[in-house]
C-alpha cells in the first residue's frame, strides 16, 4: 500500500474509532471486543460428545441478535432477520401439518437432547413446558414465553392457524426477530413427525391445551 493509501486507511480508522468511542478515550471499539470475545470463547471451550466447538460458530441471525442484544433492534435489521428465516421454512411433502397431540405432549415435556450429557441416540424433546404454559394439568411450567393455553381455541381451528403453528415451531425467528425460542425445524432439533405432533398439541380441538 502506498503512502496515500495508508493515510486514507488511517484516517478512516480514526473516523470509525471516533464514531464508536463517544468521547471515552480508552475503551476499545465494540466490534473489536466482540471479535476478541469470540476468539476467547473458541480457546476456552472444548468439544465434548455431540457438543462440538462448531456450536460456537454463529450464523447471521445469531450474530446480529448478539450484536443488538440489550438494546433496541432497528426495524430494518428485524425485517432482514425475519425474511431470511421465513425463507428457511420447509413443509412436509404430503402437506400434512397435524399429528398426534398425545405424542406432542410427551415431546413438550421432554428436555432431553443436544446437551453433551444427553444420549444422542435418543429422540430429543422440545421442552415446551420449560418456557410455556400449555395443558392446564401441568402446573410446572415456565414463563419465558407466553402462555399457550387455549392456543387453538383462541386462534381458531383453521388452516391458517395450523400453518402458523408449524412455521412458528419450525423457525420462530421468522415472526419475531431475536426471539428466545429455538428454531426447532431449522436446526433439526425435532423431526418432521415430531413437529406435526407438537402442532397437534396446540391446534387439535381434543388436545388438553384447548380444554
Amino acid at each position: 500500500m502506498g503512502i496515500i493509501g495508508r493515510l486514507v486507511a488511517g484516517a478512516a480508522l480514526v473516523a470509525i474509532a471516533g464514531g464508536v468511542l463517544h468521547g471515552c478515550a480508552t475503551a476499545p471499539a465494540d466490534t473489536e471486543v466482540s471479535d476478541r470475545a469470540a476468539a476467547m470463547m473458541k480457546s476456552s471451550f472444548k468439544s465434548r460428545g455431540q457438543a462440538t466447538l462448531a456450536r460456537l460458530d454463529q450464523d447471521e441471525t445469531q450474530r446480529l441478535c448478539s450484536e443488538y442484544a440489550g438494546r433496541a433492534l432497528p426495524a430494518s435489521i428485524a425485517t432482514k432477520i425475519e425474511q431470511a428465516n421465513l425463507a428457511t421454512i420447509q413443509y412436509p411433502a404430503d402437506g400434512k401439518l397435524v399429528g398426534d397431540w398425545k405424542s406432542g405432549e410427551k415431546i413438550a415435556q421432554s428436555g432431553q437432547g443436544f446437551q453433551y450429557s444427553d444420549d444422542p441416540n435418543k429422540p430429543a424433546g422440545a421442552n415446551c413446558y420449560a418456557c410455556h404454559q400449555l395443558s392446564p394439568k401441568e402446573l410446572s411450567y415456565g414463563t419465558i414465553g407466553p402462555s399457550l393455553y387455549h392456543f387453538g381455541k383462541l386462534h381458531g381451528y383453521s388452516d391458517a392457524t395450523r400453518k402458523y403453528a408449524w412455521q412458528k415451531i419450525y423457525n420462530a425467528e421468522a415472526f419475531a426477530a431475536c426471539s428466545n425460542m429455538p428454531r426447532f425445524g431449522h436446526h433439526h432439533i425435532l423431526t418432521e413427525q415430531q413437529i406435526r405432533d407438537v402442532v397437534a398439541l396446540l391446534v387439535d380441538p381434543a388436545s388438553p391445551v384447548n380444554q
Partner: protein, 273 residues
C-alpha cells in the same frame, strides 16, 4: 466443630425433605417455602462442612512441597483470606493474568505446593463422598471469610476492565443448536424455567443477589458448588461445548457478573434448591 457438624447434618435432613416437596407444588408457594427453609437453615447450612474441611486444608502443609497456603496471595497479601473473595477476580502480576478464586487456588497449588496442574484440578467438582473436591472445600472456606464484606472488584484496573467487557459480550453471545445466550434466560424480570425462578442478571440487583450467594450448598445435589461449577453447568444446558475450568472465558464472565455485583455485601456460601 462437633456442633457445626450436628447442625449441618440436621440441615441436610431438612434440606432432603425440601427436595421432595418442591416437585409438585405451585411456583409461588415453592418460592415461599424455599424462603422459609432458607431462614430455618441459616444457622445450619451444610456448607459449613465444606468450610471446616477447607480451613483444615488451608492451614495444613500440602503437596510434594509440603507447604500450606500461608504463602498463597489471594490479592490482599500472603495467606490473607479475610475479605479477599469480595475483590476477585483481580489481576495478579506474578501470573500475568486476571484470576478468579478457583484459578488462583490452583495457581498456588501448582506454583507453591508442587502439584501438577492435572492433579490440582483432578476433582474440580465433587461427586458424592467417593470423589470429594478439595477445591470446593477450599473455596467454601475462603468465601466464608468475606461474608458481610461489600463486593469490590477493581473495574478501573485495565486488565480486569477488559475481562469485564469480554464477559459482557459473552453474556449476550447466542450460539449452538438452540440459539441460547446467557441473556435468553437471565435477561428479564420475574421469569422462570418450569418452577425455577431465574435471576435477571442484566439488572444490578439481580446480579448482586445471584453472585453474592455462590458458592452454595445445592440441596438437590448434596454438594457445595462454586461459581466455576455454576457457569460450567449453565453452558451445558445452553447446549454449548464444555467451558474449560479456569479458562479465560470463565474468568471473563465471572469478572462481568462479580463486577456488576459491586457494592452488595457478599452473603455466601449460601444454600440453594
Amino acid at each position: 466443630m462437633r456442633t457445626i457438624i450436628r447442625r449441618a447434618v440436621a440441615a441436610a435432613v431438612l434440606a432432603g425433605t425440601l427436595a421432595v416437596t418442591v416437585g409438585g407444588a405451585f411456583a409461588e408457594s415453592t418460592a415461599d417455602e424455599i424462603a422459609k427453609y432458607r431462614e430455618a437453615l441459616q444457622d445450619g447450612n451444610p456448607a459449613e462442612l465444606w468450610e471446616a474441611r477447607g480451613e483444615e486444608m488451608w492451614k495444613a502443609p500440602r503437596g510434594p512441597s509440603h507447604v500450606s497456603f500461608a504463602r498463597c496471595d489471594l490479592g490482599l497479601g500472603p495467606g490473607v483470606v479475610k475479605g479477599a473473595y469480595a475483590q476477585l477476580p483481580r489481576y495478579f502480576p506474578d501470573a500475568s493474568r486476571v484470576m478468579d478464586l478457583e484459578t488462583r487456588l490452583v495457581w498456588c497449588m501448582v506454583n507453591q505446593q508442587g502439584y501438577s496442574e492435572a492433579d490440582a484440578t483432578k476433582t474440580k467438582f465433587g461427586n458424592g463422598s467417593a470423589h470429594r473436591s478439595d477445591l470446593e472445600a477450599l473455596a467454601a472456606y475462603v468465601t466464608a471469610q468475606s461474608r458481610g464484606v461489600k463486593m469490590n472488584v477493581a473495574l478501573d484496573e485495565p486488565h480486569v476492565r477488559d475481562m469485564y467487557r469480554l464477559g459482557e459480550k459473552m453474556f449476550y453471545y447466542r450460539g449452538g443448536t438452540h440459539d441460547f445466550a446467557c441473556a435468553t434466560c437471565h435477561g428479564d424480570d420475574g421469569k422462570r424455567i418450569r418452577l425455577q425462578d431465574l435471576p435477571n442478571l442484566t439488572k444490578v440487583e439481580g446480579a448482586q443477589k445471584a453472585y453474592t450467594t455462590w458458592p452454595a450448598y445445592r440441596v438437590s445435589q448434596g454438594e457445595l458448588r462454586t461459581f466455576q461449577w455454576r457457569l460450567n453447568d449453565c453452558f451445558r444446558q445452553q447446549r454449548f461445548p464444555e467451558l474449560a475450568f479456569g479458562s479465560d472465558a470463565s474468568i471473563a464472565l465471572t469478572a462481568y457478573l462479580a463486577g456488576r455485583a459491586n457494592g452488595a455485601a457478599y452473603d455466601g456460601p449460601a444454600i440453594k434448591r
